[in-house]
């Protein structure tokens, strides 16, 4: 467990050293995220990576051939090192650690916006600008829709939650009415 912790730190620091601006951060984040999803959801790829009968050098060869032209060389090299060391199963944790390291390095705030409806692009852009001004940081924005909010928004900036949703207001009202 402790050994894994060390490895996760090393790999995530390696990924972090590759990003020098917000654009690179976004690209790397999306790529790593897609990779993690792929490994979790695609049973063929997952079985291939976890298979003990397939030689590691064979795995590396397949990776190189398939991804050489698709992703950045440095990025691919780190992934190949992970495959060579049989550590590719740590990618999900490495991704999490990379995000927090990179956010700190590039002064990026992770913002999650949950709305009760699909917001128009204009509104999203306005919100993005407002958030940039308010936090004085680059914004890694993620939108989602949750109709159960009824109305209003929930905006989570790193660990701070700004909740103006009608659902929460009604829940607070309920608590006040029953005197909790």
């Amino acid at each position: 467990m402790k050994q894994n912790h060390k490895k996760i730190k090393i790999y995530s620091e390696a990924f972090c050293s590759l990003v020098t601006n917000f654009q690179e951060f976004q690209t790397t984040k999306i790529m790593l995220n897609d990779f993690v999803v792929l490994m979790k959801k695609d049973s063929t790829i997952s079985a291939f990576l976890q298979s003990k009968s397939i030689d590691r050098s064979q795995k590396v060869g397949i990776f190189k051939n398939a991804l050489n032209d698709v992703i950045n060389n440095d990025l691919l090299n780190i992934i190949i090192v992970m495959v060579e060391n049989d550590d590719i199963n740590l990618l999900s944790d490495v991704n999490k650690n990379f995000l927090s390291l990179a956010k700190e390095k590039l002064n990026v705030a992770y913002v999650e916006v949950v709305a009760s409806f699909d917001m128009a692009d204009d509104s999203k852009n306005n919100l993005l600008q407002e958030l940039k001004t308010a936090t004085n940081k680059e914004i890694d924005l993620n939108f989602s829709v949750d109709k159960s909010l009824i109305g209003g928004l929930k905006i989570k900036v790193d660990d701070m939650l700004f909740d103006s949703s009608l659902k929460t207001k009604l829940e607070n009202a309920k608590l006040k009415l029953i005197g909790v």
């Binding site: 989570k156 660990d159 701070m160 939650l161 700004f162 009202a173 009415l177 005197g179 909790v180």
Partner: protein
Amino acid sequence: MEIKTNQIGDLLRNQIKNIDSDIDINEVGEVLEVGDGVARTSGLGNIMSSELVEFPNGVFGMALNLEEENVGAVLFGDSSLIKEGDTAKRTGRVAEVPVGEELLGRVVNPLGQPLDGKGPINAKETLPIERKALGVMSRSPVNEPLQTGLKAIDSMIPIGRGQRELIIGDRQTGKSAIAADTIINQKSSHDTDSPVHCIYVAIGQKASTVAKLVGELESNGAMDYTTVVVANASDPAPLQYIAPYAGCAMGEYYRDNGMHALIIYDDLSKQAVAYRQMSLVLRRPPGREAFPGDVFYLHSRLLERASKLAKDLKSGSLTALPIIETQEGDVSAYIPTNVISITDGQIYLNTSLFNGGVRPAVDVGLSVSRVGGNAQIKAMKKIAGKLRLDLAQFRELEAFAKFASDLDETTALQITRGRRMVEILKQNQYVPMSVSNQVVIIYAAGKGYLDDVDLDRVKEFEVGLLEYFHTKHSDCLDQISQEGDISDDLEKAMNTGIEEFKKTF
């Protein structure tokens, strides 16, 4: 009754209008895992130790383990209502409870929420449950007696206000009975200018047992000045863990405001077990008997909060009577030895004495009060000085007498008197006795007035003598309670009274 829908609608609309429409801003984390009454959350980077955390469905928790990667919070509610990925909100408040006289007569849980169905508690003040014990300069030595109303205790193991006196014994030896009697006896203090308010903290007990006790306190008129804090056996371990601290905070309110309070922790063995459970699920390393390393501090920081305050801090007091249950009389187990070393003495209850009909089953040899003697009234000190020694000698001689048929006169007299002393110290439950009555009957026994009374008529003699004094010599009783001493004149008057009564007995 007709339901007026419009009216209800209007009421609700008005309430909703008044609700603060500001945006809810909270620092939040995400639940990583939940189980065994503990939730681990990510985020919450600025959380304080012991801060309350709000989870969905109205469940609250308390942050205890602040680790690099996550925060471990113990849950005060049903953990099945929380799932992975749920939001955990900081409240910015450390765990606190309502305090004040509004809590008198109420039965509450360790969070100060009412359990008695008597409506909300409109306390004006709250206090954090974890408070640092007062320093040396804020305290004064114990110098005021706290009467339990039990002859065996008030005479031989006196308790002073601000003292910590442990009640220890096996199961079913009458530990809680002593606590209940002491609470009931405080009723008399409410006729004086220094009333004692009581807090009874029930930890890990059956709900039916607590209900029975509350019923007894109510029927004896003791609930008027008592608060009962309950964390039943069915409540989560964290609630059982915080219950004594919550009760202590309620008691400290009286102490800090120049009043007097008595708190009973029934019992701290169960609290230690709850803490052990919590610590193990929080993955803290287990030590002796699987208790965590800080189990001594668990009790020492609690009991250190009981104190008698200095004059410039209004001289209030908080007296603590912790209860510890032993297994097969083993006082050398981990928790009993810890608490014995922390407290200012212990009342040890013996199973064989209890089964032999000596109730309260106080083992005089193993019981001690380290500071209470300074608080004992002079009258009691005078008559009880030799009582302890006499009883110890009697126990020794009694063992010999079982083998020898011929005894010399002195030994026989000692045994006769000892047997009557033991009989005198027996007392029924829920019948505490005033200190003046205690002085009269112990004085009579000590002076040998009961030596020629049949053993099975000693109780009858006691009742008769006290009745006689109340009707014919009430001045003697008044003098004892007012002056607290036995002057030569008073001694003569008492002798006369006892002799007069003996003629009629």
